[in-house]
Symmetry: C2
Subunit: 188 residues, 2 copies
């Protein structure tokens, strides 16, 4: 991702990818408190190698967040293409919550992203995408006009976070989202 001045050596690039992949798994399963050593083991690499590529644990986390955000943005785009505009926003909520319940990482992405790690542009992109979803839904008459982006993002983050830490099962996810959708919706 960092557009280096000099090209990377082949083994370095290979290890970098292995580390990123391992880290995504480990942090998804164990949360961001998982140790760097566990990441190194899973990647089949010495711990020093991890720190050569990512001088700080926070750097590693940040890189993963960027990847996740990018994927989410492309999810949004896909949804916009394939779903009627009125329902794309709801679909996005639903899939994101389900994903968060599986991948703990998503949680920290939405919750801490803005505060602790700083990936302003990546987060900004996601916000713009969701805003697009929101205004299409409003144009389609599916969502109230007096709802704004900040509370939509807030609800998104809150519900994901709640689903993860509260261990909601699918039934509860659906019911809770139903309330939220009713709150957003223009229909009675």
């Amino acid at each position: 991702m960092p557009p280096d001045d000099k090209p990377m050596r082949a083994d370095a690039l290979r290890n970098r990818n292995r580390i990123l992949q391992a880290a995504e798994q480990v942090f998804s399963e164990r949360g961001p408190a998982a140790s760097t050593e566990e990441v190194a083991n899973r990647a089949g690499v010495a711990i020093g190698t991890v720190f050569r590529h990512f001088p700080t644990k926070a750097d590693l986390l940040r890189e993963i967040m960027k990847g996740l955000l990018a994927r989410l943005v492309s999810d949004v785009e896909a949804l916009r293409r394939d779903s009627p505009p009125g329902t794309a926003l709801f679909a996005f909520f639903t899939t994101l919550v389900a994903q968060a319940a599986r991948q703990k990482t998503v949680l920290d992405l939405l919750a801490e992203a803005g505060t602790e790690l700083s990936i302003p542009d990546a987060v900004g992109m996601l916000e713009r995408s969701v805003d697009g979803l929101l205004t299409s839904a409003q144009d389609a008459g599916t969502v109230r006009r007096d709802v704004h982006l900040p509370e939509v993002m807030a609800l998104l983050g809150a519900v994901c976070q709640g689903a993860v830490t509260g261990g909601w099962d699918e039934r509860l996810q659906v019911r809770t989202l139903a309330v939220v959708f009713a709150g957003l919706g223009a229909a009675a």
Copy 2:
């Protein structure tokens, strides 16, 4: 709180209360990751004393949670007496979120309480109280009949959590809650 077999020595009781008070402050400000030593300092007590009263950090946390839960339950009772039944639930949501935004402890109470620490009876009490609020609101026609306790608790937890980790300002709290209330409400 623990109905001991033998009465406690005067100094022991005094210190126990100091510790509890200090811990509540410290954990509210710094979150539950704050060190036991900081609690001891704030209480003006050696660290060994903290561990004599609460053999484990989790025990200390649990005791504080119990106190918080008890206070919340009595808040609910007060609200039930002083507010029209249709609005008491909404009022509870509003005050709890505002409190959570100030006291980080509330967060962990609602989020982790069920999972990591185990205070089943205390949590159960709060649930029963909120359930009372919910059914009165439904009887008053303010809340939909097809909304059930689990999603109400889930939303409560999620919104508090979101407000804390996302650092919502009051404006955002109000707007987000407005969406939730609209979702719960029987009125269009």
